[in-house]
């Protein structure tokens, strides 16, 4: 495997980490008003992701930094091209973070409601837009011979991409519900569990629709024929298993299966693209690939050494943090409740 491919794989890993981890805190944020009946329960819901969400967000910052360093042209074309979509994501992430951090620091019902809106919108909008962005990335966007994106925000909002956004909202919501089932106070967890069962069918429906749509819209599946290959099938099995496992009350395993679904779907997208990183809808020859968009081999090697040393350390202390906060958040954990 050449160094460009290794870096492409590493960036895929960062995106997997981001979607799996931030995916559940997006879901938790979206579902908060549905699973919490009073202010204390809302605080329980927020505190289930309290120690994690900020570190989860660092996965996308690291992915962005790694793209900048390893594939400057990919970073430049993608970020300048998906300009307004990324702006909306940034705004949403800002509102959400402020909602999380400052909600409990002021009293008054109106302030709490405002913060709740920030959390719900700030979790739903980025979930939607990341789905839109990833779908566009896979499907291809108008990129010229000069590597510049030639469309605008509306270019990105094709029916296929919008469906991709709906899929990611649905999957992250399900993923979040299964996380709440695992870590929230029993009353909230029970509601989250019911909601997960309720969400499963519509999620399955949009997934199937998206899957069928992508036969017509991308070459992702043309390559492997009608049977889409091992990984997509595994992703589907994992998704189906989540419905069964939650009914059996194998809560941790149910959460693990949606995590697996998200991880495998991301792998399928990245694997399908390779060696392209951004296909052009104007001319296949204008596509950005891991080779024409990459940094020099020296840069990639320097970065690889850093990654080999630090990625395991990061994984170790993040795992430690999840282990420390493995217990359920109960009413007793909420001061003044």
């Amino acid at each position: 495997m050449d160094i460009q491919t290794i870096w492409y794989a590493l960036i895929a890993v960062l995106f997997i980490g981001y979607f799996v981890l931030e995916g559940f805190d997006f879901g938790v944020g979206m579902l908060m008003p549905l699973v919490a009946k009073d202010d204390t329960e809302r605080r329980i819901v927020i505190n289930t992701v309290g120690p994690f969400w900020d570190a989860n967000e660092v996965w996308i910052i690291t992915a962005g930094g790694a793209m900048f360093a390893a594939f400057p042209d990919w970073y430049a074309t993608l970020f300048s091209g998906f300009y307004l979509a990324l702006f909306l994501i940034l705004v949403a992430l800002i509102l959400r973070a402020v909602g999380f951090e400052f909600r409990g620091k002021l009293d008054g019902l109106r302030w709490r409601r405002t913060a709740d809106t920030a959390i719900v919108v700030g979790s739903t909008l980025p979930a939607f837009l990341w789905g839109v962005a990833l779908t566009n990335l896979v499907r291809g966007v108008p990129i010229g011979a000069d590597m510049q994106f030639q469309g605008n925000l509306l270019t990105l909002l094709s029916p296929f991409a919008l469906l991709g956004g709906v899929v990611s909202i649905a999957v992250f919501a399900l993923h979040g519900a299964l996380f709440l089932n695992l870590r929230a106070d029993e009353a909230v967890a029970a509601r989250a569990r019911r909601l997960a069962s309720l969400l499963w069918w519509p999620t399955a429906a949009v997934l199937v629709a998206f899957f069928l749509f992508s036969y017509g819209q991308t070459d992702l599946f043309d390559r492997s024929g009608l049977v889409p290959g091992t990984l997509p099938v595994l992703a589907m099995i994992a998704f189906v298993a989540s419905a069964v496992l939650v009914r059996l009350r194998w809560d941790a395993w149910a959460f693990a299966t949606t995590a697996l679904t998200i991880a495998l779907a991301t792998v399928v997208a990245f694997e399908g693209l390779y060696p392209t990183v951004m296909p052009s809808s104007l001319d296949p020859a204008y596509a950005l690939t891991v080779y024409n968009a990459s940094s020099s081999p020296l840069t990639l090697h320097v970065m690889l050494v850093v990654a080999i040393v630090f990625v395991p350390i990061v994984l170790a202390y993040q795992a430690y943090s999840y282990w420390v906060f493995r217990r359920r958040v109960t009413r007793r954990d909420i001061p003044g409740a």
Partner: protein
């Protein structure tokens, strides 16, 4: 409107705003870690209350530092795609390492510190705030490495019109970084020291929790005394370094239109950029030669001579930064820095004589809380505006760095959007800091100062 101008405003607004929160995060993390360490050793409850009080303010400030930081990273690609293509091979390295090495550390251990107080052994909880402090300091070093390369590009070759890494060690040990990082990090510690001193003074003026805030003020005075002096000396090194490596910036900092030997230092100048001269000037002879080269004889090159050299080297064009802005920013920074040294020395003297609670001193300390923010802005304006028209000194012009496919409307939308949101957040943040920092004497709310869970958990 010109998209370039809008993109520059956007970078200026979002970066200056981000930098309201960064220095306090770096400095206050360390101060809280020190306080918690004293509590760990002495088991004196006062230091526990102290660490919690300042910890609350740290958390409020940290939140906005994080969210405005994501904008910074995305912005390079969004508004400055040609810059990103040009520098990615080199500039991307510290940026990626910063996220991997520092941001993960900061954010993960902050979560552990905030939510783990009752769940973790004391030593582990103490370690977690030290990891937060380490993460924020390490992040400063990497981002300053990236900035240093823009001031002084090293370890590269130009291939197909782009900078390509040739010597990673040169980039990691850029001599510009060795003067810029200490100066910036020390100034961050001064900022946090003055923040702690100012708020402590407020409490002391109201006779609120005297023992704890007197001790906080003393810790802060020591920190400000040491770091403000060192900020000045490292700043001096940085200016001397600038004299050698970015002579145009130095000439603009001094509004030195024509070369002088020996050069005199300008105290006041009325600057006329269009005509390329200053009217009504007050100058101190020899002093600029001393400041720039440590002797009374060296020549310091002037703007006109340097411009002629730049035209000869790079072709026709305007190579003069906005002189008045750079000149006055530099003076504001230096003047404020001197003021901080004075304040700290007066504080030490008063403390030594047992009169730290003199009301005039406490009032002065309260005002001084706001000044390091101005000094920090002024410092960054000096170094960034002083580098114009270059975004990477001598290699890439700011005008060639902007995204060619992003229109004025798009930049205007995002500029307006960020400005609006940042404005609202500034009010919210200021109110929250005020609310949690103010001296509260009413018994019903007295617990707020020590009540931990209500504030730390969400």
């Amino acid at each position: 409107m010109d998209p370039l101008l809008l993109a520059r405003w956007q970078f200026g607004v979002t970066t200056a705003y981000h930098y309201i929160f960064v220095p306090l995060t770096i400095g206050l993390a360390l101060i809280v870690a020190i306080m918690q360490s004293i509590h760990f050793r002495t088991k004196n409850d006062m230091y526990d209350r102290m660490a919690r009080f300042w910890g609350k303010l740290f958390v409020i400030n940290f939140a906005l530092g994080v969210v405005t930081g994501i904008v910074q990273e995305f912005q390079f690609g969004m508004n400055w795609s040609e810059y990103s293509r040009f520098v990615g091979d080199i500039f991307g390295i510290p940026l990626a390492i910063e996220a991997l090495m520092a941001f993960f550390l900061e954010s993960t251990f902050l979560g552990i510190w905030l939510f783990g107080r009752d769940r973790l052994p004391r030593a582990v909880h103490l370690l977690s705030i030290w990891m937060v402090a380490l993460g924020s300091a390490v992040s400063a070093i990497w981002i300053l490495m990236a900035n240093s390369w823009m001031q002084q590009p090293v370890g590269y070759t130009l291939v197909d019109g782009r900078a390509r890494l040739s010597d990673p060690v040169a980039v990691f040990l850029n001599e510009r970084l060795l003067v810029e990082a200490p100066h910036t990090i020390l100034a961050a510690l001064t900022t946090a020291g003055l923040f702690v001193l100012g708020i402590s003074a407020w409490h002391l003026l109201r006779h609120h929790q005297r023992e704890m805030f007197l001790r906080s003020a003393q810790i802060a005075i020591v920190i400000v005394a040491v770091t403000s002096l060192l900020t000045a000396t490292t700043g001096h090194s940085q200016a001397q370094h600038t004299a050698r490596t970015q002579p145009m910036k130095l000439a603009a900092m001094e509004a030195l239109w024509d070369s002088e030997q020996p050069a005199s230092f300008s105290l006041f100048a009325s600057i006329d950029q269009a005509d390329g001269k200053s009217t009504r000037e007050i100058k101190l002879p020899y002093l600029l030669s001393v400041l720039a080269y440590n002797n009374t004889t060296s020549e310091v090159e002037g703007i006109h001579q340097l411009e002629a050299a730049d035209v000869a080297k790079y072709g026709p064009g305007d190579y003069v930064p906005p002189v008045a802005v750079v000149y006055w920013s530099f003076r504001a920074m230096v003047g404020l820095g001197m003021l901080f040294i004075l304040l700290a020395l007066v504080g030490l003297l008063l403390w030594w004589r047992g009169r730290l609670e003199r009301r005039w001193f406490l009032r002065a300390a309260m005002v001084a809380l706001f000044l390091p923010y101005l000094a920090n802005f002024a410092g960054w304006i000096t170094t960034e505006m002083g580098r114009q028209p270059w975004v990477v000194q001598g290699l890439l012009r700011t005008s060639s760095a902007v995204s060619p496919n992003v229109g004025a409307t798009e930049v205007a939308i995002t500029l307006a959007g960020f400005t609006l949101i940042y404005g609202v957040l500034a009010v919210l943040d200021f109110y929250l800091l005020y609310r949690f920092a103010r001296p509260v004497t009413a018994p019903s709310q007295g617990d707020q100062d020590t009540g931990l869970g209500d504030v730390f958990a969400y």
